[in-house]
Amino acid sequence: MTEQPVIGEASVPRFPRGVRLQYNAQRQHWMVQAPERVFIPDEVALAVLQRVDGRTSISAMVDTLARDYAAPREVIRDDVLELLRDLARKGVITA
């Protein structure tokens, strides 16, 4: 296992094999399924994770989110980077 590279705006995040975002109809929640763990993302995290597709850069995600939520770009950027770095430490995403 190598150290995770530091995630920045140019990074392209993706879910590694064994992690997926899935809707559960019985619970009416989106859930992140991981090895023997289930995370329930809050509304903000979900908005970010639904844009994680292995093609879109963080920079592009931030642009879209800033537009969709009509919020200052730098605020969104900081939130997104903090969230994705935390999830990368937990092995939920890679970049």
Partner: protein, 388 residues
């Protein structure tokens, strides 16, 4: 949609067959034979019912689940139903081709158990020559196939001093999750407790090893640590509470709130051969018996931790106190706690090291040993706290 939230996960014990003979195996002392096992179609039908109920993950376990030739078909069916698949394996029956076939079927995650950091000791504990090196090789195949790997390190008095080396080995082979699990003392573990229970000093040292490794491996691997509860002050929230989050299906289709529950007397467990899974989860007598807090005796009933640890483990209460409805004696508030801790300390200091290995043939002997262990653990006249 019913009032009872659906289970998060199912432990599917596909078979009791296993080439290893670990003396702490979580399977019951009485093992099911191959001819009694559920068929492929029955397992797939179970998964269908589980998905409809809202189950998120299935742990494909055993025995050794790869002893079933239809494992790929079961994985494929689970994935098609949207269920996340964990394989809980000893790995010794796997080769590169089978690992690749399971990956192709959509297997999400593999957990391999390790018995020690040193081959000779690991093979002695598992009762299987050459097993340790095989496991290490298969861990490499799993990583090469791109699947996430968990190393399950089962620890006890006879390997705990090498925990640091075991964690190092797991990290080196690319395990993203490392489970350090102290042996649980029911079934075969109870039979072999005197040979397995760690000393207090070992447990303190292990706590420090885990803390240090967690800091060192931050960002590379997560360590889950299951503490040995004979020395704990409060019991573990066994299974997250009886029949609250998990269920186990045995090789023959019996549905249990936990994998050891079959050891409890006086409970009737339903089979998926006879009743739909949703109905069993909702309303079977055995699932309702210890669900929630209504069943609790004192000191649990008025305890402000009653919805944190749910009274601890029913199987442990029965094994040590002779009453499945008693407070888990791992709890410092149980009247039996002092005696249990003293017993663990004494057995660990006596230092017996012979194992009674798990097998299909040693049932009578193991039963005798289990009864003996229970008798030793029980107070003279089995003073049972009256329920509620």
């Amino acid at each position: 949609m019913s009032l009872m939230p659906p289970p998060l996960a199912i432990l599917a014990e596909l078979t009791h067959r296993c080439p290893l003979r670990c003396p702490y195996c979580s399977n019951p002392v009485e093992l099911a034979r191959a001819r009694e096992e559920l068929s492929t179609e029955e397992w797939i039908e179970l998964l269908r019912q589980a998905a409809a109920l809202g189950v998120l993950q299935v742990h494909l376990s055993g025995g050794e689940p790869t002893a079933r030739k239809d494992l790929e078909r079961i994985v494929l069916a689970a994935r098609e139903l949207g269920i996340y698949t964990n394989l809980i394996t000893s790995a010794v029956l796997l080769d590169r081709a089978r690992v690749d076939a399971l990956a192709a079927a959509g297997l999400d995650h593999v957990q391999i158990s390790f018995q020690d950091a040193e081959a000779q000791s690991a093979d002695r504990i598992g009762g299987f020559s050459g097993g340790h090196e095989k496991k290490r090789a298969v861990a490499g195949f799993v990583r090469a196939a791109g699947m996430p790997l968990t190393a399950n390190l089962v620890v006890h008095r006879q390997n705990l001093d090498r925990l640091g080396a075991m964690i190092g080995m797991a990290a080196e082979m690319g395990a993203r999750r490392i489970e350090v699990a102290h042996v649980q003392y029911y079934g075969w573990g109870l039979v072999n407790r005197a040979a397995l229970v760690p000393t207090r000093g070992q447990v303190a040292a292990a706590d420090a090893v885990v803390a240090e490794a967690r800091a060192r491996l931050e960002g590379r691997a997560v360590i889950d640590y299951v503490v040995p509860d004979y020395y704990a002050r409060r019991p573990k929230p066994c299974m997250g509470g009886w029949a609250r989050q998990f269920l186990t299906v045995t090789p023959t289709g019996k549905v249990l709130p936990c994998h050891a529950a079959d050891s409890l007397p006086g409970l009737r467990f339903d089979s998926i051969r006879e009743r739909p899974l949703a109905e069993i989860w909702e309303s079977s007598e055995a699932f309702r018996r210890f669900r929630g807090t209504d069943w609790m005796p004192e000191p649990c009933r008025s305890c402000d931790r009653r919805e944190m640890d749910w009274g601890g483990c029913r199987c442990q209460a029965f094994a040590l106190v002779g009453d499945a409805a008693a407070t888990d004696p791992a709890c410092g508030l149980s009247p039996h706690h002092g005696r249990i801790a003293a017993l663990a300390a004494r057995e660990s200091e006596e230092g017996a090291d012979a194992f009674l290995y798990r097998s299909f043939a040693t049932v009578a002997e193991a039963r005798g040993a289990a009864a003996l262990t229970r008798d030793r653990a029980r107070p003279e006249a089995a003073a049972r706290p009256a329920p509620g």
